[in-house]
Amino acid sequence: MKIKLSYSSANRAAAYPYLLYMLVFTIVPVLLVIYYSLTNDEGAFTTANFSRVFEGVYLSVMWRSVKLAAGSTLMCFLIGYPLAYVIASLDTKSKTWLNRDTILFLIIVPMWMNFLLRTYAWLTILEKNGIINSFLDMLHITKLNLLYNNGAVVLGMVYNFVPFMILPVYTVLNKMDNSLIEAAQDLGAGKLHVFFKVIFPMSIPGVISGVNMVFMPAVTTFVVSDLLGGKQFILVGNLIEQQFLTVYDWHFGSAISVILMIVILFTIGIVGAADKDSDGGQLI
């Protein structure tokens, strides 16, 4: 692909600091990870690290991570899309307290708090003697096992990542050309018809950034699964963390990281291809 830009060389020079930044903090580290994944302690070339990743146990961790991350992404979509739609359809000049700014503000406020703290707070809510169970106990209902299972991990992911779904979808819906919707209505399309034929297809780019922004942190997280999964349900993020921080097998840890990067690239590829089919040229 050839891109012709008429920028002057001075303008181009402005990009150098970032290019350097990218070289030092993105490209070199990735190369190092690859280097580590292909060597052993003596520095000799080996593919043993990769073949170990494909042993049953580790594949099942990988599969579990992808499944939970995909589930969380779907939940984020189901919760986030309708909310983004409602916000975008609210009147901007509304004088009541329930206006766009308030809702957007409420979505962003939790993100001002530390990620770890927000996740920790769920411990207190879900514990055996936590808020929910104390309440159930008061009503003489049997206590529930809410913590240290897949459900708790998905809940933690959805809670932490749902703003990353809402915001891009909202941005796209907000910028949508109203005349297209009006045109559809003039031509006799019903509400549902307008939504599925006009609004939703046009909002796909927002959904795609949302999916990417939720899926990637969800599939790599180790904090959420550590705190809410109690190591009972470790994900690939925990597996990598463990290799670097407690087991100090940097080579195996790097090999898992490389595989994970490939999985993510693959997912982005699928999502991107889906976009091209439905609405070519939107992803610039």
């Binding site: 030092v24 903090f25 070199v28 580290p29 190369l31 190092l32 280097y35 520095g43 146990v57 580790y58 099942s60 961790v61 514990e127 055996k128 003697n129 096992n145 913590l147 240290y148 999964g229 109690g230 190591k231 009972q232 470790i234 925990n238 597996l239 463990q242 290799q243 670097f244 921080l245 407690t246 087991v247 100090y248 097998d249």
Partner: protein, 355 residues
């Protein structure tokens, strides 16, 4: 290619240094009054750090780790610049054999004479090294079962209870490979330092069988959880048990009769320290009997300072777990550095958690 990788690595490591630690370049001219300490979580009375700073004018930067292994992983690259670390016996042995420790100038640590060498002698009874030149004992204790007497009716005196299906989902194991493997190895009658792959795998299988009964594998969180009555049984260190029992009187501690791990944590100075004299001043300060007593009372772990025991109130001294009785001490085993075989433990542990 290799040179390039190395250059890049060095560049990266310098760039990635934690903000709390000085990077190699800036630390070279660090002013005198600084001390960088790396210790276990919840393992010192913070008031003592303030007092040390007040008395000496030395500014202390204090970081925490949660397992010996994570501490080692951080120090191994050799650019962390900590001045004082407090790891356990086997990790000190490993670090010393790998040349990661500096000898301590004992002339600067006169208070070390108060240290009871009994525990240390058991560890180095065969006269393996000149350990005492490299480390000054800090606290010691055992590994055992902390249980909630309102949920457990029977006498707790065997590791078997951690495999009792009656307590499904009521058990916490420790998120640390060697500590969690210990009950399984002891239950099978093997040494907790086994280097026999079959024995290790048998222990791993036992832990896999136990996994459905385990509510979670936790680090320091286990204390809050047990105090809050979130589970019936937990694998904990004796000092943590003493701390928890003080907060929640329903909790009791037992070291199983089959034997367990006895451990000794000690203060040491890692290679790369730029404030060695300050570290020695701090070690001397912590060995002051009154200071050691206050510290021990605060964190609940047993001081190695014989003189300090005189200042410890009887109530604490008589708490089960504070001072392991002689017969318990005799059945217990130290962890040893497993050298290359540690990899197999890593593997067993990774496979357990991945399951």
């Amino acid at each position: 290619m290799k040179k390039l990788v190395f250059a890049a690595l060095i560049l990266l490591l310098t760039a990635c240094g934690n903000a709390g630690e000085p990077s190699a370049a800036t630390a070279a001219k660090a002013p005198e009054g600084k001390l960088y300490i790396y210790n276990w979580g919840d393992y010192i009375d913070p008031e003592l750090i303030t007092r040390f700073t007040d008395e000496t004018g030395i500014k202390v930067t204090y970081d925490e780790f949660d397992t010996n292994e994570s501490m080692y992983a951080k120090l191994k690259p050799g650019n962390s610049n900590y001045d004082l670390i407090i790891p356990s016996d086997y990790m000190l042995e490993k670090m010393q054999s790998e040349g990661m420790l500096l000898p301590i100038d004992m002339d600067n640590v006169p208070n070390a004479e108060y240290i009871d060498r009994r525990v240390e002698d058991k560890y180095f009874g065969t006269g393996v090294t000149n350990y005492s030149d490299y480390a000054v004992p800090y606290m010691w204790g055992t590994l055992g079962i902390l249980y909630n007497t309102t949920m457990v009716d029977e006498t707790v005196d065997s590791w078997d209870i951690l495999w009792d299906e009656k307590y499904a989902d009521e058990i916490y194991m420790y998120d640390s490979q060697r500590d969690s493997l210990t009950p399984a190895l002891v239950k099978l009658g093997y040494s907790i330092n086994t280097t026999n792959l079959d024995e290790l795998n048998a222990a791993k299988d036992l832990l896999i069988a136990q996994k459905p009964l385990v509510q979670a594998y936790l680090g320091d969180q286990v204390k809050d959880k047990m105090i809050g009555g979130e589970a019936a049984l937990a694998l904990v260190f004796s000092g943590d048990a003493v701390f928890c029992a003080a907060e929640n009187p329903d909790l009791a501690f037992a070291v199983p009769k089959e034997g367990s791990n006895v451990w000794l944590d000690a203060m040491a100075i890692p290679v790369g320290s730029l404030n060695k004299e300050n570290a020695e001043k701090f070690i001397n300060f912590m060995c002051d009997p009154e200071v050691a007593a206050q510290n021990s009372e605060y964190i609940g772990f047993t001081t190695t300072n014989a003189e300090a025991l005189k200042y410890i109130p009887d109530e604490l001294k008589n708490t089960t777990g504070y001072i392991p009785p002689d017969d318990v001490f005799e059945t217990c085993e130290f962890y040893r550095d497993l050298k290359d075989f540690l990899k197999e433990y890593d593997r067993a542990w990774t496979e357990l958690l991945a399951r």
